[in-house]
């Protein structure tokens, strides 16, 4: 499901990836109507076979004399050949000129399990969460003190001052901001983040030197979002553990999912959801961190 469109992704026997609309091709609907007025009212649509270009290859349940597969074209041609790279399969609308970009700079990337969220956590609000400079220091590590984190890293500055100043600006790719607070004398501790058209965010929790990672909040429709996190496996670990190596409460990416179902919204559904108040732990919220949520679906991990 993408932008309200029901799409089917598949591989052919050569491994090529195809994406086509789930609905019947208009030419087939027309053909069905004509056929129903003709001699074969019981056309079995499920027997049709398409290739990755949307061409109908076979109509095994139609007598050869009545075969009309050459006249059927599924709406697959507006997608260029999708390619698999670093785990995810990328598809590109063919209407635009072909470009050589290879996707994010994520050689050796790890794609974390996606998460489908609904209603209260649409792509806009999820992007918003990663675009709020001070939310990390409060909501995620509000219970962590400076002495709890490794003093040898710059992470200590992230929890030392939870009320940063910040600047933001529009960019060619979207927008960007920097949250900053005083660090060593005459220096600032900066945290940079970006919003990239149309729904990508580059988050600030990591070391700028090797923070090769991104979050994609893909809108399934107006009220559902599928979130993907991609991260370079060799990047330095961000602020997610205490100096004793234990996970900061709430940052461990230990996500529970509901069982899959066959509907269009039935996969990668988080168990912690709006209907159960995200399994909020009030005791944890009071004494450990401000979210009261034990595991994070949106944080990156190695």
């Amino acid at each position: 499901m993408l932008l309200g469109e029901q799409l089917i992704a598949f591989r052919d026997t050569d491994g090529r990836v195809g994406i086509m609309e789930q609905s019947l091709p208009a030419s087939l609907r027309l053909a069905v109507l004509r056929t129903q007025r003709g001699r074969r009212p019981a056309l079995r649509l499920s027997r049709l076979e398409f290739d990755v270009e949307g061409n109908c290859l076979d109509m095994p349940n139609v007598p050869p004399a009545q075969d009309f597969k050459a006249r059927i074209k599924a709406k697959a041609t507006r997608w260029s050949s999708a390619q698999a790279s670093s785990g995810p399969t990328w598809a590109r609308a063919r209407k635009r000129r072909r470009c050589q970009h290879r996707g994010p700079d994520v050689a050796g990337a790890r794609a974390l399990p996606p998460a489908c969220t609904s209603a209260s956590a649409t792509g806009s609000s999820r992007s918003k969460a990663t675009s709020t400079p001070s939310h990390f220091g409060f909501l995620h590590v509000g219970g962590v003190k400076t002495e709890d984190v490794d003093p040898e890293t710059i992470n200590k500055w992230a929890v030392g001052d939870r009320a940063p100043d910040y600047k933001s600006t529009e960019t060619e790719w979207g927008t960007m901001y920097a949250a900053y607070r005083p660090a060593e004398p005459h220096t600032y501790y900066y945290r940079f983040a970006h919003f990239l058209f149309p729904f990508i965010t580059l988050t600030p929790n990591g070391f700028f030197e090797d923070q090769v990672a991104c979050t994609l909040n893909v809108p399934m429709d107006d009220t559902h979002t599928m979130t993907y996190n991609l991260t370079w496996k060799k990047k330095t670990r961000p602020l997610e553990t205490l100096k004793n190596g234990e996970w900061i409460p709430g940052l461990e990416p230990k996500v529970e999912y509901l069982p899959d179902t066959n509907d269009w919204y039935g996969r990668h559904r988080l168990a912690a959801r709006r209907e159960n108040d995200y399994l909020i732990d009030r005791d944890m919220q009071k004494n450990v961190n401000y979210t009261g949520i034990r595991a994070s679906a949106g944080r990156t991990r190695r």
Binding site: R96, R97, C99, H101, R102, P104, D105, V106, A107, G108, S127, K128, S131, T132, P133, I154, N155, W157, A158, Y166, K167, T169, E170, T171, E172, W173, G174, T175, M176, A178, P182, A183, E184, H186, T187, Y188, Y189, Y190, R191, F192, A193, H194, F195, L196, F197, P198, T201, L202, T203, P204, G206, F207, F208, E209, D210, Q211, V212, A213, W232, K234
Partner: protein
Amino acid sequence: MIAITRKRLLEAAQTLMKDGKVPASVDNPDIYRGARGGAFIASAKLDWLDAYAEKLQTALSPLGLLNRLPMAAE
């Protein structure tokens, strides 16, 4: 950040609707290569965007895709 991002999105949608013009990154995705998130320490004397451009010069790029933005003084 939220306000300017909303404004940026709204203006992009309105431009597409009125003029049929898409954001520049649609046909030139290399634009994305100038973006990098993360934390670092920089001199308080530097402008924030200069600090960003300076750090981009030495940031790792496994595929060599990162675009080293020019410094303001260049």
